[in-house]
């Protein structure tokens, strides 16, 4: 269970996130929506531990998360805007490197499986630098999934992915939900949100302006009108 309590982040006197509180239960998929510049990415970076919150707490299973604690980092997987991949190394080398750092067991088989599932197996010996944006994104997702973190933070995971990769990612996320692991993701694609998320919150100007109830939406149009109202209101 991930709890964000009264999180505030100020960067050079400009409040990016203002007093945000969120609870993400085990086995829950939550979408974070909002216009550009609402502070979604900053919120994720704070939770992942890349940024130090100015105020407030982040708790995992009721325990306070300290920035930089090794055991907590292992439980969170973060997919950011940047791929975090070394462009002069091949996909296998990249994944091997991160896998070793995360102490993943049975590394080689896992890498092979992930590369096959993401459709990158053919390119396993090509340096990442020559990849297209979509391929890089696939590999970045593979990097996040490799250590099987308990909490996934995905910042616009669907951007640049082709249809099969979107399906793979969605299936993976839904599979994990069954095993009681949780996902928090940012998306602009309301279709994806409708298909995946149990709940959604709308972030605007650093504040949560609207949070949906549990159980999803009756149909896609409902979700769209709900989101538009939240942003406008």
């Amino acid at each position: 269970m991930l709890e964000i309590k009264n999180l505030t982040k100020v960067i050079s006197r400009r409040p990016i996130i203002k007093n945000v509180s969120l609870t993400l239960n085990d086995g829950e998929i939550m979408a974070v929506l909002g216009p550009n510049g609402a502070g979604k990415s900053t919120l994720f970076k704070c939770v992942a531990g890349l940024l130090k919150p100015t105020n407030g707490e982040i708790m995992i299973d009721g325990k306070k998360l300290k920035t930089g604690s090794v055991s907590a980092k292992k439980r969170i997987g973060f997919l950011g805007h940047d791929s975090f991949l070394y462009s002069n190394m091949t996909p296998v080398e990249n994944l091997m490197f991160y896998g070793k750092l995360y102490r993943v067991n049975d590394l080689e088989n896992k890498i092979e499986r992930l590369l096959k599932e993401t459709g990158l197996f053919l390119f396993k010996d090509v340096p990442v630098g020559s990849f297209s944006k979509g391929m890089v994104q696939k590999l970045a997702i593979a990097r996040v999934l490799l250590p099987e973190p308990e909490i996934l933070l995905l910042d616009e995971p669907h951007s640049g992915l082709d249809q099969s990769a979107v399906l793979f990612l969605n299936r993976y996320i839904l599979d994990r939900k069954k095993t009681g692991k949780s996902v928090l993701f940012i998306s602009h694609d309301l279709n994806a949100v409708y298909g995946l998320a149990d709940r959604a919150v709308v972030l605007k100007n650093g504040k949560i302006v609207e949070a949906s109830g549990e159980g999803g939406w009756e149909n896609l149009d409902r979700l769209k009108t709900w989101y538009e109202q939240a942003v406008a209101g």
Binding site: I11, S12, R13, R14, P35, G37, N205
Partner: protein, 239 residues
């Protein structure tokens, strides 16, 4: 509190105004002329004072660096920066006067003498420190980076001194004595008094400049914050 600090500033200013003629009188008229080196020896009083303040200022940079790593706050960030800036000033003065001193006593503008070399390295470390502070980014980040460098630099200074001294004695041993000043023998009581007085005056000058500098830098912060606030308001209007 504000009023009080204003009075301190004023008092410091008047004390300095009174002290400077006195110190000039002491240096130029009252203190005896050294037999071997002649009147040029009088450079020594201010040279030592400036060098002492240069090292003091760097020591203070070090202390505030440690402090702002333990507890980041804007005041220690500002103080460390101002101290470094004044440090550059006094290090430069100490270097130039040291060179002039060298010209009179050893007839070379620069001698690879440990104190002079250490001061020179100190100058470079100071300048590098100021370059780090010129980097762009939020002040918290600059504060961390510059503090880290300040600590490493501070630790380096005594090692530089040690290394240059060993190096020097290896090259041409016992050219100058290990006495308190390079004139060899001890100091006359008048000379000592003048020296102590000039040390005091220059230290007070340092304190005065520090207070002024900190005040100005705080003002700069206020201006910056004000601008940020206006920018925030503008961006919110745009949404």
């Amino acid at each position: 509190m504000r009023l009080c600090s204003k009075y301190i500033d004023k008092a410091l200013f008047y004390v300095l105004v009174i002290f400077f003629p006195i110190i000039l009188y002491l240096v130029f008229v009252w203190s005896p002329i050294e037999k071997v080196m002649g009147p040029a020896q009088k450079i020594f009083y201010f040279h030592v004072g400036c060098a002492w303040v240069a090292f003091l200022a760097f020591f203070i940079v070090g202390i505030y660096s440690v402090w702002s790593l333990i507890r980041p706050n804007i005041n220690s960030f500002i103080t460390a920066g101002v101290s470094a800036e004044i440090g550059v000033l006094f290090t430069s003065i100490a270097l130039v006067t040291g060179m002039i001193w060298g010209k009179t006593s050893w007839n070379t503008w620069w001698s690879w003498e440990p104190r002079l070399v250490t001061t020179g390295i100190l100058w470079f470390i100071y300048v590098a420190y100021l370059f780090i502070r010129k980097m762009d980014g939020p002040w918290q980040k600059i504060s961390k980076l510059s503090s880290v460098f300040g600590i490493v630099g501070c630790l380096n200074v005594p090692i530089v001194f040690m290394a240059t001294r060993w190096w020097n004695t290896k090259l041409h041993p016992i050219v100058f004595g290990e006495g308190k000043n390079e004139t060899g023998g001890g100091l006359d009581p008048e000379m000592l008094l003048t020296l102590v007085f000039s040390l005091l005056t220059i230290t007070l000058l340092y304190v005065f400049l520090m207070r002024k500098g900190v005040e100005i830098e705080r003002m700069r912060m206020v201006v910056k914050n004000c601008k940020n606030e206006i920018m925030n308001k503008l961006t919110i209007r745009e949404d």
